[in-house]
Symmetry: C2
Subunit: 200 residues, 2 copies
Amino acid sequence: MTDPNQPPAAARPTRAQQRRRTESRILGAARQLFAERGYDRTTIRAVAAAAGVDAGLVMHYFRSKDELFAHAAKLPPDDFPTGAPQEVAEALLASLGKRLAAEPVASLAVLRSMLTHSEAAAGFREAAGQRLEQMQSVIPAADAELRAGLVSAIITGVIIERYLVRVGRLADAPPESIIDLLRPCFQALTGAPTPPTSSP
Amino acid sequence: MTDPNQPPAAARPTRAQQRRRTESRILGAARQLFAERGYDRTTIRAVAAAAGVDAGLVMHYFRSKDELFAHAAKLPPDDFPTGAPQEVAEALLASLGKRLAAEPVASLAVLRSMLTHSEAAAGFREAAGQRLEQMQSVIPAADAELRAGLVSAIITGVIIERYLVRVGRLADAPPESIIDLLRPCFQALTGAPTPPTSSP
DNA sequence: TCGTTCAATCAACGTCTGTTCAACGAAGGG
DNA sequence: CCCTTCGTTGAACAGACGTTGATTGAACGA
């Protein structure tokens, strides 16, 4: 039945396969725990237990807790759509819509840990910096940098209150309603160079 | 010169005075450290050292680290101005302006710790809940709860990126420019019941 | 088949943490 | 004046943490 030269890999996994398998199990457990409890409250023993291995093995694969976090919380490259200058707002809203539907766990791990772990903060600043540069280049205003920072702050605040602190209606509101309410905000921040100031 | 019945309290402090003095010194040090490092990374020994006392004394005054945090991070009652329904946005902007000029340390302590310490998260939810109720009562819209939550999320995001993560221009931008850029956002969120949807 | 490699385990170390307890010394009251 | 009260200290404990080293047993190459 089975070809001895090419075993179907389901009977008995090769050594490299087994290694990659447990390594990814460890990474998955670490991501989950870092996202739920943050860096400090996540112990290597807990990660090992969740992955079904010994704590020493985690140290053998990733040489320290910091390095484990760096691998587990590596953010996927942001798919920021550099649309036409006028449609930046809509592109940003679409991007936010994806994150509101299901925020990736690695991103939550970084967000949860960035206030207490310096490397997580650095990772967040780097990811935010990339988005800021891309936004600045398409926002036609002298204070583009500040405007981009405000958009980033809004996104961060919404995701934190929705996934990490779970306050009020934000936690379970459908993404479309949030996007619809945020649309005029993003349009104003990415749009006219000097918005009309309506103070008496 | 000095009335022996009412010593000027500068010569030799009475026992109760001394107690209140060191107690407030401990609270101040705790606030500062909780705001800078968060709950987990702040040790009782570090608080005691910063206050110039022994660690055992901190435990004697506040019976546990949790209780110390509860006292140090007690938020001042929010002075939310319940203005006329049309001027809610401006009142919110003014309130944000104060916090952008100098955010109180106790508030930063709660914000820094709320992602990893459950009691800090509860304190944040309580403070946010009060603001949400007050905002809902003056926002004329069916989805007032979600709108209020978004305003809260924006404020939280801006303050976190300004004081806690320090990303981009947000960290050092003058409060007025931030408020000016955020004005159309707050007006849209607190204003028209159904903002015009500009999707093709 | 034999020796090597390597995934995986186990026990232990040193350190840091929150917390406790006995003790001291000066202020307060009678 | 003495005895009590109480702010304050120092040492110590038990637990949890990141990290290390020796060890085992099965897969691997020759």
